[in-house]
Amino acid sequence: MNAPVKPELSGTDEARGGAPLLSVRDLVTRFRTDRGAVTAVDHVSFDVRAGETLAIVGESGSGKSVTALSILRLIPDPPGSIESGQILFDGQDLLGLSEAEIRAVRGNRIAMIFQEPMSSLNPALTVGMQVGEPIHQHRGAPWAKVLRQARDLLGRVRMSDPDARVGAYPHQFSGGMRQRAMIAMALACDPQLIIADEPTTALDVTVQAQILDLLQDLAKRANSALILITHDLGVVARYADRVVVMYAGRVVETAPARELYARPRHPYTRGLMASVPRLDGDTAKRLVPIEGQPPDLSALPPGCAFAPRCQEATETCRLSRPPLRAVGTRHQVACTLEN
């Protein structure tokens, strides 16, 4: 038994690209609140391959942002902490890195774009300085050079008149321009992975598509993988290669985007689909929001967390929690009804 163990080839992915770029395994992130401990991310696992776009979808409060922040270890502690799991990035467990080592990853090999463009830029510093700051930090470039590169980055995100914008302040920018600046900042050090947490939710509908197109285009060109967090399944259809659906801090379904669209297996996923206008344009269909309230994480039922809102729920659903099970190649779902 001394022979080196060959990794098992399962499915097409390994054959395509070897080990995934990012592999999140059994991640658990908790918050201590006045009403007791809350498990915001509960044994979440997923992979992201180099150059791929993974969408994480779910209603607000389902743990998408906490998952994203956990990857870069940006969970505010207190009140939060990552309790267990592994976050393997390029073969390295990010959870095992020292403070200095994880800093060398942030903004450099993994960059993040946040939901609120209005408040995510520092009002007291120029846009150019903020966009170029990762280059100064990670490449040690002098500021004069950093600002020239910042100008190029602003040009890359197709901002008009980048020369003038470098010295401008965030308050002189519209929401869409600020988000472009955030994208420029994320691209600064050519990261292998960009995590975009609802990058367009706060924006005007008219600029949403522009920003997402730009983001995906630039990520593709830089060969960066992209984790696109959204609560909008319409976005998923257009941009994602694969999808992770989250509910109450858990992954309830994961599949390639096409597969998920063709055959959504979890009642929650189907509910999400019914509640957004489909881009393929069947406007005759009425939009049906999912009934009921998102669950209270501090008082989850013993069974499936979605059971109280599920039209198809049975007694079994309410009693035992269904694990994620494979229902096809790379398609997994956590639903008792899919047995």
């Binding site: 870069l72 800093r103 942030r106 903004g107 007291a124 700051e133 990762p134 990670h138 302040y169 308050h171």
Partner: protein
């Protein structure tokens, strides 16, 4: 920017006029009459002037509006009048005393900030640790101790314990800077104590507020070390309200200087004012108040201008 400053400076004129009227009238409403005082003081002198002579000589027989206009006319020509007692020009006296108080106030401001800002920042970054709690307790202590009491303790106890007492022969900064600073540092610390206590608390509160902002999370996500997140991204934004507070505290500093100068026998405006009020030396009192008023207004202007430097959203046109 320059136009803005000029406009603000012009706007000072009506305010100063208003201040001068208030001061001119209220000073004369202080109970006790300068003539009575002079008459009792001069009891033993041979050629005792009559009451009427004195009143006339000092120009106090005129109706108050006339006195005011005369006085104002003088000021416009750079003549602040003369002391009723020493008959020295008020302006000379002010010019002599002003730098002393200015130095005391400035030193108090500097030591106040030098103590307060680092502790306030530390306190915020290490919220709820033993260090934070110690710093907060210290600032409460400083706040609750009146400066006259602190000043008295500082002059009394070291002299009992170590035979050290503050120098009473004031040396001007221009004559011997080292000796002067040695003399001024303790009074400045006492005067700056309360200021540093409020500044410390304000710095802490504002830093905590700023550290919760989204752009601080962005700064962390870039891979910056904590030092840069705090100093480059948080501090500047937290400073804006702190500067306002310090500006608002500056007049109190001037008020505190009156007490401190008396305790430590520093011949500044405070001591001058105290003597002048006791002697009902109207021209001196009005002169001091006018200068103090002007100083407060200039400090406010400086605070407003500093916003423009700290906060790019504020632009002066």
């Amino acid at each position: 920017m320059r136009a803005y400053v000029v406009r603000r400076l012009l706007a000072l004129i009506p305010t100063l006029l208003f201040v001068s009227i208030i001061v001119f009238v209220t000073v004369r409403l202080i109970p006790g009459d300068v003539i009575d005082m002079m008459l009792t003081q001069n009891d033993l002198s041979a050629d005792k002037p009559s009451r009427e002579q004195l009143v006339q000589a000092l120009g106090l027989d005129r109706p108050m509006p006339e006195q005011y206009l005369r006085w104002l006319g003088g000021i416009l020509q750079g003549d602040f009048g003369r002391s009723l007692w020493q008959s020295t020009p008020v302006l000379d006296e002010l010019m002599h005393r002003l730098p002393v108080t200015f130095e005391l106030g400035l030193l108090a401001l500097i030591v106040g900030l030098v103590i307060a800002m680092p502790i306030g920042i530390y306190s915020a970054v290490r919220q709820d640790t033993a260090g934070d709690i110690a710093a907060r307790s210290f600032s409460i202590l400083l706040l609750s101790v009146p400066s006259f009491w602190l000043g008295t303790m500082v002059t009394v106890f070291p002299s009992i314990w170590w035979g050290w007492s503050p120098e009473v022969n004031y040396v001007r900064f221009t004559d011997d800077p080292i000796q002067n600073l040695k003399q001024m540092i303790v009074p400045a610390l006492v005067l700056g104590a309360a200021l540093s206590a409020v500044t410390m608390r304000m710095t802490r509160t504002m830093m905590l507020e700023v550290l919760r902002q989204d752009y601080i999370r962005t700064a962390w996500a870039k891979g910056l070390p904590g030092r840069l997140v705090v100093m480059r991204h948080a501090l500047r934004n937290a400073l804006i309200p702190v500067v306002t507070l310090v500006g608002l505290q500056a007049p109190l500093l001037i008020g505190g200087a009156v007490i401190i100068e008396q305790i430590f026998v520093i011949p500044g405006m405070g001591l001058l004012l105290l003597e002048a009020v006791n002697q009902r030396d109207y021209p001196i009192v009005t002169g001091v108040f006018l200068v103090v008023g002007l100083a407060v207004m200039l400090i406010n202007l400086a605070v407003d201008l500093s916003y423009g430097m700290l906060d790019p959203r504020v632009r002066h046109r």
